[in-house]
Symmetry: D2
Subunit: 312 residues, 4 copies
């Protein structure tokens, strides 16, 4: 299995939003602009079709297109990770072949999310899935959306297959992240990546390898700087940067009443900054209307932005 | 919009299991046998690709095939309802056209199940979806699997479109079912159907229209008899039949430790009774092994079965 | 163990609100009026210090006083059941002795509600508690408040002690209620009572013994009539009365945004009808303010009330 | 209001187990030994009657006695914080006066845990409670046990009263802890303390003030060393100590099947080490039996313990 992945994968790997014109039309121009913005921002990989990328809301045609276009635009500059999370193992495998054919470096998979599985069932599912994949795989823990959480021992069991090369945890549970780190302590090549950007600093300080942080779509430099500061144990800098990260988290992601605030706010801010043309959000959601958009604009004005970049 | 649906749809509409040879191979011979078994059992419709039908675990190719084959075998004898629940509105619409093209009578949809929606978002989703559908639609409440529940007022709002013709509730919440009934009290044409077979008797006694009951795959006569007894207010008979329904519920569905017990037990019992050839369960689940299968066999032996039928 | 309890206890046993002047002052005059109102309304018992009675919000002094005053006012006319739910087994036992000393007929207990117990722990807790009680006990299932639910087999295990004489289920789960009924089918003396009044009709039709329904504080006649209609299998009457029950449920209990709406709405309506003097709700809640009170008043005006009674 | 509390309170403040002979008998000799063990271990305060202290399982008599005896044994050497969490505001206030009379330095309160409150109700509860308390108060976030979580803005609102001097978070949610830190960023005197010991290192690195860590009952030196390492930004030492903390967490707290494993394992280990005489756990729990006790003994043998102390 050939791949250009680091061992383990480190740094900031943004979970790209999927720029859309409507439910069925990818906005390729915006995607090009977004990818150049991220590469210039110094990120270490591109993670597509995750929760932030609205994979589940997209048709399979658009999911496939998103993989193809990202790999085409990237031209091998960064590792591309494609999320293949699905309730159907057949569709997951199919998507993984698209990813391999397009030159992606790895795939990412959260547990099937309609039926809730017990831990042995979850392990057996991955023991069936992984050998069918043409690429290395990262497990993705996302209990708020998929209803089940990988037990640390289940991660350990599944990762006995060396094709399983890392773990993304979006549980926000700090005890849990440490427990998986501890269960995997004999696997220094196994990447431990954290989803919520509010925890990237602390997770890297504690030995984690990086973050798959949605805010890096907006301000890649900020999260890359946080990663570097934490990796080099510069606590003062970690604390300084954390203030910006929390300001973003507590303003841009908190407009709107429902769980969709994060996604709507992120796309809205990206469109205000001109990184994507339109903040269309796929069904079942709708983009913000004018009053919410105005609040996002004000939240951005409260940040020290010049020429679309945070002045750190 | 042409349909052969009753107004409202009444009676027992079994949620068919999907007979499989493996993850990607529909067992058509078993499907034929199952459908004839159900029609002979007196059921009032065929509901395919629901939770019991493992829709989410099947590839889109197999989902499509299941619709085609069911409609072919049925030959218009009963209304066919096809579940189109999906996280992608585009895929839902696509599946609904397959259903219409094959001659199905209606579609059924539970809320998108990856992202959790707020109530206004849920209403807007259906206000966008329903006009794109070529068939009448039943809403399907399944909070344990999709994480959100339709508020009674959301049902009322969505059902202002007359294309929305009924509701299936699998919440098992008796207050909730009554609350939706009350919210819809001015729509006598709106079908109120209950998922859990343990509640069919009481729901029909209280004015509900029928049940979409998994056990009817096994013993259609039992659930049809329960419906008739409840509809005709024959309480003694309701109570007598309820004992069989509870015996099945507390034995066949309770082997195994995880939430998958119901599905595995049902398919296992169907294969023991010879209604389907094999009890293969699609990933992420596996069928029962010998010890569990033996327990199911014993549970069946404790029922008064002759020639594959319950002697009521 | 001497008791005047029926075997099993049947009918409508209202869970009395606790009339208060402030957090620490029982309003005895209102309690007297409430109890006379209930007895005249034809109820079959008085259940005090349940969830509707705000047991947990009251000091132990007031809990004790509520038992004493209720028994004094009742003068043996009806069985009195006192809720002794507590996180401390010692305090539960203490309260049960107060109840016995005052002449109560039984006690009611929901599981300890700070720590969540596993099922064997739950069974062991009751196997330790019950022998220390001087009165028969009813188990009380209230998972939304105490986080754990009695498995039907746990009910069966605990009820092997004949001092355990009944079960109150406030889960609203119709499958669950049937499952406990089925587990206890060899104990015709074991009372199966339902909490949510929206389900009293159907539960009694299905063989349940009655309801512990909060609305019976307001309109005891309505719930008693529902019980009688269901018990005598008069379905038309059940359906007619159910409309009133649902109207109350969907109006009086639905003002306000939080889970406390039921309690605040019930006490507010009781005070508007003059049954209690003040609708003071103990901390952590506060009674409704003027706009919500006005909505309750309107909800009452939409009911056919004459001289404080529903004209059924 | 006189108190000897630091401003903010910093360091390791163990949540003491409550040594018991039976449900109603405090083991004072063990309590004396435990407190001397902790003071020698260098901890910064004594936190009694928390979750680890089984407050809710104890009678009020024993709660009161625990406060009295702890303050008597402590003789003013360390600040004592007494948990007054209760569902009844009257009982909370009463307990706070006991604490003040005995010389405790502060009280700690988690939200009422029977009824779930909305955020405005929660704020109003504390706005009513705090002025009645004779001591400074720490808010205690414990959503798994009390069902509600303080919104960061609710903490900010309640803490406008300067009598509210700190926050203990046992949610294990790293994003949440950062969000409360950010909401309170203008209050450098407000103590931010973390419950789960697996997170103490990272929380202190990120600017938190310390930990209320159950494991400190066993090995106070370990957690004090972790606090010091994190406070002095010695990451290598943090990572080294974290291995011991995780080893304890993944062995001693993981014997047994239910949520009670932590408590039973902790008391069992304390009794094996001779710090407390007996590991009696109050109802609704029971202490471990021989096989589990043997596993705890083995877990302790895998730690580098000499003369009852971890060799760090």
């Amino acid at each position: 299995m050939k791949t250009n992945l680091q061992n383990p994968l480190c740094g900031i790997i943004p979970p790209l939003v999927t720029p859309l014109k409507d439910n069925e039309t990818l906005d390729i121009e915006s995607l090009e602009r977004l990818i150049e913005h991220l590469i210039q921002g110094g990120v270490n990989g591109l993670f597509i079709l995750g929760t932030t990328g609205e994979e589940q809301s997209l048709s399979y045609r658009v999911r496939k297109q998103m993989i193809e276009e990202t790999c085409r635009i990237n031209q091998g500059r960064l590792p591309v990770l494609a999320c293949i999370t699905d309730t159907s193992i057949v569709e997951s495998v199919k998507l993984s072949h698209t990813a391999a054919d397009c030159g992606a470096s790895g795939v990412v998979s959260a547990p099937p999310y309609y039926f809730a599985t017990g831990q042995p069932e979850l392990a057996e599912f991955y023991e069936e899935l992984v050998p069918q994949l043409p690429l290395p795989i990262f497990l993705y823990n996302m209990p708020s959306h998929v209803k089940v959480s990988f037990d640390p021992q289940t991660v350990h069991r599944i990762a006995q297959n060396p094709q399983v090369v890392g773990f993304k945890d979006s549980s926000a549970n700090g005890v849990y992240f440490q427990s998986v780190m501890y269960a995997m302590k004999d696997r220094p090549d196994f990447a431990m990546l954290v989803g919520p950007e509010e925890m990237t600093g602390q997770c890297v300080l504690m030995g984690g390898h990086g973050g798959i942080n949605g805010g890096a779509n907006l301000f890649p430099e900020l999260y890359v700087a946080m990663y570097q500061a934490a990796k080099s144990h510069n606590i003062a800098e970690v604390l300084r940067l954390q203030q910006y990260i929390m300001q973003i988290s507590c303003s841009i992601y908190k407009v709107g009443k429902h769980g969709s605030s994060y996604l709507k706010g992120l796309k809205c801010a990206l469109s205000i900054l001109g990184i994507i043309n339109d903040d269309f959000v796929a069904s079942p959601f709708n983009k913000f209307q004018a009053p919410e958009r105005e609040k996002i604009r004000q939240a951005l004005e409260n940040l020290p932005i010049e020429n679309g970049k945070l002045i750190l």
